[in-house]
Symmetry: D2
Subunit: 119 residues, 4 copies
């Protein structure tokens, strides 16, 4: 269970790449490409589905592990990217949530309701 | 500091979207699209850089916050996607690392050296 | 009207980049990144829309030119990528259509109906 | 040879999809997703390559047909997307090139040299 925190996983990924001498490939530019490619592989699973079908993918025993696997790949490259550049992903997200809480006040307080934004 | 774990951030993102009634937009399909779009926005920062320039982006006071911001966006959509489908991203990554440790043995033990794989 | 064929546009794009000395940035790797980034910008317009809303985007005077503009960007980078590597995009597509006509026979002839494939 | 113009290929793609009753899947939103996924598959070929290696991919008999194949996929989905929304891709690109010729004057005329833009 101590394995399941972000920093531990980030360190295991770094050790994994180091042991295989993959550091040479892991420039921030290449890792950003790989992250984008893995995110597209996740999207590929959903591209022809209706919104309703997309909500049921985990009920399909063939699709569910593919989805989890692509999630793992996206997170792996995101953490390796952050490791390469010394970025604390969780701190960046916490800061972003705080900014968004002021940028997008809860509707009712403003009247600008029901309009989704890109956050 | 208790804010900075994945599960807490995931819950804050869910509360944030609920308060704004954004759940209607947050189908797994749409969240996978948004994740992919944000990953591409991160890549955009690097697209014309040399590998060497890409390693120095955090030294540039204009670029560094943009990179952290896109990292936050990618992580935000990844966690919202996982929330929508009940996926434990950290467990998925831990399982993947274990599988990869058998799939890509450390070179020297096998002789299949210096070949990067898509992991 | 002679402007509107692929080869002429490809040549104009090459002349445009040459005159600005952008050839140094236009490695196939960078152009493939840029193509992927522009395709994601096109997707961004659609990410929160329902299938029905997505079919009506050209009726919206604000959205229509954005869509056409992103289409132009995707095509521009695709043609510059092909120029850099000496690929004839139209011939590649014609060959692909021919292969797909044998790989995916019209249903009725086979009974394998109504299953969309990734082509 | 009359096959190798954009409009003819666009019509063949439409006939291909119609014959297989794939129109139901081909919403603009889904086609934009598929375009983005195919662009990422093209990028995947380049993600770990150096800029120099990326310039030599067509010399490798295994990689060259994969590159051409992904180019065909990107163009196929771009043309199907344009067909679904009634967009003339070549006209959109010609218009874009004209706008860019005023937005990015040739250096020397302005002194703003050697700075690549996102066009």
């Amino acid at each position: 269970m101590t394995e399941l925190d972000v920093r531990t996983l980030q360190r295991r990924l770094a050790a994994f790449a180091d042991a295989r001498d993959w550091g040479q490939y892991h420039t921030p530019k290449n890792l950003a490409s790989a992250l984008s490619v893995e995110a597209a592989e996740l999207l590929e699973i959903f591209q022809w589905l209706t919104p309703e079908q997309s909500a049921r993918v985990m009920a399909d025993p063939e699709t569910a592990p593919r989805v989890a696997d692509e999630v793992a790949d996206v997170l792996a490259y995101l953490l390796q990217f952050c490791e390469a550049l010394g970025i604390d992903a969780l701190a960046a997200l916490a800061a972003k949530i705080e900014r968004n809480e002021s940028r997008f006040p809860v509707p009712g307080s403003t009247g600008d309701e029901d309009r989704h934004s890109s956050e």
